[in-house]
Amino acid sequence: MMKATRLAVYSLLLLVLTVGFVSVMPVYAQVEPFEVTDPATGARPFEGQELRIINTEVVPILAYEHEVFDAAYVEASGVNLIYENYDQGALLPVLQTMCAAGGDDYDIMFVEDGWSGTLEALGCLEPLTPYYLAAPGDSHPEDYTLRAFGTVAMHNETWYGMPTLIAVGMFAYRTDLFSDPDEQAAFQEQYGRELTVPESWDELVEVGEFFTRPDEELYGFNYRYGAPNNILFDYMIHFGFSRGVDFFDADFNPLFATPEAFDAAAFFTGQDFLNLQPPGRESFQFGEVLQNYSQGKVAMYGTESWAIPLLLDPEASVVADVTGFAPIPGWRNPETGEIQRQLLSAGPAYMVNANISPERKRLAWDYLQLAHGQQFARPMAEQYGAAQRISLLSDPELVEQYPFFPALLVAMNGGIGRPSEPWWPEAENALGRGLQALLTGAPVEETLTAANDEVVQIVTDAGYYESGAHYVTVEEREQFVCDLFEEVNVEHSEC
């Protein structure tokens, strides 16, 4: 070949190779490997520095975590933790205001799964993958179930945080009532079958009827109807999902005007069902239903996993030693006779503020990998029965101490996350209010169809249909997590 042509070919080859190489490189900024705190070796590279956390202790588990994790971290690392506690309703506005103004007042932020969309859009969240690659530490992200990790720690395909708490639905019941021989006999007589913890909706109603005795101030069960998001969650967690309802289909069309949705809603807000619950139920939110159960006013209670330590604490609950847990009752498919169960999972994670300096980001990662890492999680599980890692939920010693751990693991494996788009709270509000209208006797089909149309309007306004946005299904979310794990070279049993 002529010299010029050869030169041209070689430079073209070089160009192609460079472009190819660059496009394959990770999209994040590189972080050089750095040292992290390690109690085993006594390494304390961040000693004496200050870390600022903005947090909420809206549920006691978070307070316990602060006690156990943070204390252990401070001792191991010598870092000074500066800690600000807000009430949960106020935390989001503070975060939104700070992020919108590009503030760097805090290094670590408590972020609920539903908030990650808006905070990401405001450019406030720092991807964690480069930090893991530079210094994995004790974080062990593969020690969470795929669905839980995908919902709580990631927003779509990016890893932003370490989970602090995974909330899944669980069913609490009064062991004393269920194992009492007189009750069992009476039930056998009245309903012709044995008194067991309900597994399906019909059983739930029967047992609920049996235990509803207003003169004794005892009621069957208790659900949350008081605020739009409360009622929507209880509807979805306990009835919607198991009946086959979902939030959206793959093209973001809302699925609240389907026959299954009407069916579940009619059941959940029907007068017969409401009559088995304590008076004032239409205004109950999280706090009231927990209070009612822990004061012994209801026989069964659809709760969330983070409430479990409270229910088992003798100082907070009069029924602490007679409380058992089971999976949530599902819908019995009339054709197959099987019980379908599908849950909602949600939860907060600690995320790193993207507006702080690179050195502080490394410090923040050091906190995340150790304070919320594997070794410190064990004392937390032992002391309070609060565990979210697979290794702990399947540890034989712990299971013996807390028999509900396997059920919790099953629940975590089966949870569907809620949408975390920035416009979701508005849609959630529309749907919740539609459900609340049913309590006052509005016709089911009309009301839910109207609510559904409102959500369509909201999604349209947000430009999602135009741009052909795609709703991440739960299987796709699992795939995102598997892709992440592949990228960072860890193995997960489900991938």
Binding site: A100, T118, L122, G226, G280, S283, E426
Partner: protein, 311 residues
């Protein structure tokens, strides 16, 4: 007289200057008094006010960092929103009921206090207490009192032969209860101010009316009321403006429920801004709210000043 020397000329000029300065400063002395306050307010308040009014003309949200200019889009959206109309109606009803309720109750109590001779100061003190408590605390205390299963009220009712109620859960009672709690907190303010007004009334007109044999009612209508007019208007204006902004109390008691029957304007704006992330829509709603309050209070103001001029 000899011609003034240079030094004398200079001192004459300084004296003239000083005189001129004195005259000018006397003319504008009021500005010296006002300047510090005005500067402080301008520094701190102007920027936020301009910003928040301007906010309504852009699309600012917590979803993104882009802020496009959209002239009236937010206003159109808000005025079309059926929720906004419901909330506006709720708020106007709330203001009307709570302000008039607090007014009549407070005024009535102040008048009744005239009839009490012993222990006036102690009664005043006890009655003022709700005023001094933070609205959040008031809301939470009453939440606790009204709880269907654990509250004091429902525990007392059976003793009186009435069934326990679910006060905050039903659409019919929630509104009334919240308004009653608001009146509970704020009628002491009316009471305090009207009581002070009544104590400050001059004696002579009453004495001459007594001599002429007028009845209590005529005295009240012809003498007391007209003299108290400015006070009444001050109290009404103060309470109206604050009632429009009610937030803490209602939010903590019902959070707008059930079914938006107790949703107030400020809560709706908060929700739109921080829960739904639409900050500039909230800005538009707030601007409209300011216009409404502005009109209402300007009318009251007019009335008030007219009375003063006449006196």
């Amino acid at each position: 007289m000899t011609a003034p020397t240079e030094v004398q000329q200079a001192s004459i000029q300084t004296a003239a200057f000083r005189r001129w300065l004195y005259r000018v400063s006397q003319k504008y002395v009021h500005w010296f008094f006002i300047a510090p306050a005005l500067l402080a307010i301008l520094a701190v308040a102007i920027y936020p006010i301009v910003y928040s009014t301007g906010l309504s003309f852009f699309r600012v949200s917590f979803d993104s960092r882009e802020r496009p200019f959209v002239l009236l889009e937010n206003f159109i959206w808000i005025l079309n929103d059926s929720d906004y109309r419901i909330v506006l109606g709720n708020t106007l009803l709330y203001v009307l009921v709570t302000v008039s309720g607090a007014f009549f109750l407070g005024f009535g109590m102040a008048l009744l206090l005239r009839r009490i001779t012993v222990g006036r100061n102690w009664l005043r003190l006890i009655l003022i207490l709700p005023l001094t408590i933070a609205p959040i605390v008031v809301g939470l205390t009453w939440n606790w009192m009204l709880d269907p299963l654990f509250g004091l009220i429902n525990w007392i009712l059976p003793g009186l032969g009435l069934p326990p109620q679910t006060w905050l859960a039903s659409t019919s009672t929630a509104r009334i209860v919240v308004m009653l709690v608001d009146i509970w907190q704020w009628y002491p303010l009316v009471f305090l101010i009207m009581d002070a007004g009544l104590s400050g009334l001059p004696r002579p007109p009453y004495e001459s009316a007594r001599l002429e044999g007028a009845s209590n009612w005529t005295i009240f209508r012809r003498i007391t009321l007209p003299m108290l007019r400015p006070v009444i208007l001050v109290v009404l204006l103060l309470r109206t403006v604050d009632a429009f902004r009610t937030f803490d109390l209602v939010r903590v008691m019902t959070d707008g429920g059930p079914a938006y029957t107790t949703e107030m304007l400020s809560m709706y704006l908060y929700r739109t801004a921080f829960n739904f992330n639409k900050l500039s829509r909230a800005g538009a709603g707030a601007t409209i709210m300011l216009i409404v309050i502005g009109i209402v209070s300007a009318l009251m103001f007019r009335f008030l000043y007219r009375e003063v001029e006449r006196r």
